[in-house]
């Protein structure tokens, strides 16, 4: 198992949308490396012809009739929003320079 590089850790943090301070990045590099080395033990298991188990119990896709059901009111759903404008979530500009 090759050691993780700082760059790899930065890439994973970006994929996870997780800001890490420089000291956190280095700590994470060491800790993740140790874990992956330990958990790499599963590579030795013979899993030929063993289908991956995605669920604890066998189950079919549960679908209900496509009919409207009661749900949260808009007012209730918006109660925990950090910032909103009427029924809209307010977020920083997505396209640079589009702030109005």
């Amino acid at each position: 198992m090759p050691d993780l590089t700082r760059k790899e850790v930065e890439e994973i943090a970006l994929l996870a949308r997780l800001h890490l301070e420089p000291a956190e990045l280095e700590k994470m590099r060491v800790e993740l490396g140790a874990m992956l080395e330990h958990f790499g033990a599963i590579a030795a298991a013979d899993t030929t012809d063993i289908p991956p188990m995605t669920h604890a119990v066998p189950m079919d896709m549960a679908l209900r009739a496509d009919e409207p059901q009661p749900s949260l009111s808009v007012e209730d759903a918006l109660r925990g929003v950090p910032k909103h404008d009427g029924n809209l979530f307010v977020v920083p500009a997505i396209i640079p320079g589009s702030e109005s």
């Binding site: 301070e21 599963i42 188990m53 604890a56 189950m59 209730d76 925990g80």
Partner: protein
Amino acid sequence: VTTTAYWTAAEIAKRVGSGEITAERVVGDALARIAEVDKKLGAFLVVDRERALTAAKLLDERRKAGDKLGPLAGVPIALKDNLVTKDVATTAGSRILAGWIPPYDGSASEKLRAADAIVVGKANLDEFGMGSSTERSAWKPTRNPWNVERVPGGSSGGSAAAVSAGLVAASLGTDTGGSIRQPAAFCGVVGLKPTYGRVSRWGVIAFASSLDQVGPLTRTVADAALLLQAIAGHDARDATSLPAPVPEFSAALGSGVRGLKIGLPREYFDTQLDNDVRAALDKTIAALRDAGATTVDVTLPHTKLALPAYYLVAPSEASSNLARYDGIRYGARAETATSLEDLYKKTRGAGFGPEVKRRIMLGTYALRSGYYDAYYKKAQQVRALIKRDFERVFAEVDVVLTPTTPTTAFAFGAKATPLDMYLADVFTLSCNLAGLPGMSVPCGLGADGLPIGAQLLGKGLDEATLLRVGAVIEATVGLGDRRPGGVG
């Protein structure tokens, strides 16, 4: 009797239902004990005093008006704070949910209220259920009532400590890799993780969806049966909830273990067990034989792969589940963000604690394109092998008996590295990976005065046999009237 603390849930429900005592009195006692003791213990994140008292008074009025009350009438209960409660702050032990007031009730709180239980508050936990000591709560540690210098276990540490110290008669926890059973063992209470799908996950703040399950922590096996009865059953709002009939769990309790075959898996006894844990398990095995059970040595050969498989599957699911915490729709939001992506990164960087970040990173790594087959898929295949081990053993025996933990409760700060902490769960993980029911029952005290738990693992949907065997362990080698001395 000056206080109803330490009454069992069954006793309370019977006496409140008959009018021998009021729910107001019982709930008042619980709130008074919480006010007195929880400063030292830290089991609660929220005490919902006014609403609990109002609910208790309403219950008493209904009884006076001739209503027949439910099976948990007046029983004060704590809910682990990853169980969503309408209008009561719920954070799952994380800063990222600071100030969030859920607009709906989860299935657990709905069903408990329908059974006339009184939810008195929300119990502390490791952030999002990720931990084995409750040291990873963003808010505060919880202490073990048997010795306040020791951890209560985790992640349902608040739920276990509150029941152990007589603050409430019962609580609910969640168990993804041992988070009900391990703290139950450390705090000397009964903890039951039902079969995956037995209890609805509607309103559980998700950690690892294919492993999470809600279950009771109680002081007696009979109370565990009573609580499970109230929360079990199909729920259309949880697509993984099983449409299986729910048996009368209390019915099996008195029937003993004569004729039962109990498997003793070599892999759980051949490892580094504390001498006291080994001795307590030997006594438990002898007691079960004396009561008429036969014991059989069995082997679960893939046991040593459970830990690596679990720590790839669970963080992978967590990294996906926790993607929802982005500061947009609810929860905390970073104030200084310059762009949407920056908002996500800063909100999550500031809102999650170190253990949660580690698991998100590990899961993101394992799911990454190019690594998926070697880690996530391989771990799911190993998971299938672990399940096959159990299927083979359960063709031969009725139930499997193991220690719940290799040691008694450890000291604060004792687990120096993340891996050390993960190893505390080494005996409880397989059960979740296989989707089977598991229960920890107290089976004595160590020389350090701390409780030891015996773990029972059962066939899918066969919680009844766990309860039946658990009742015999309780009656023969259980703690009896011994109570924790750490908090008075």
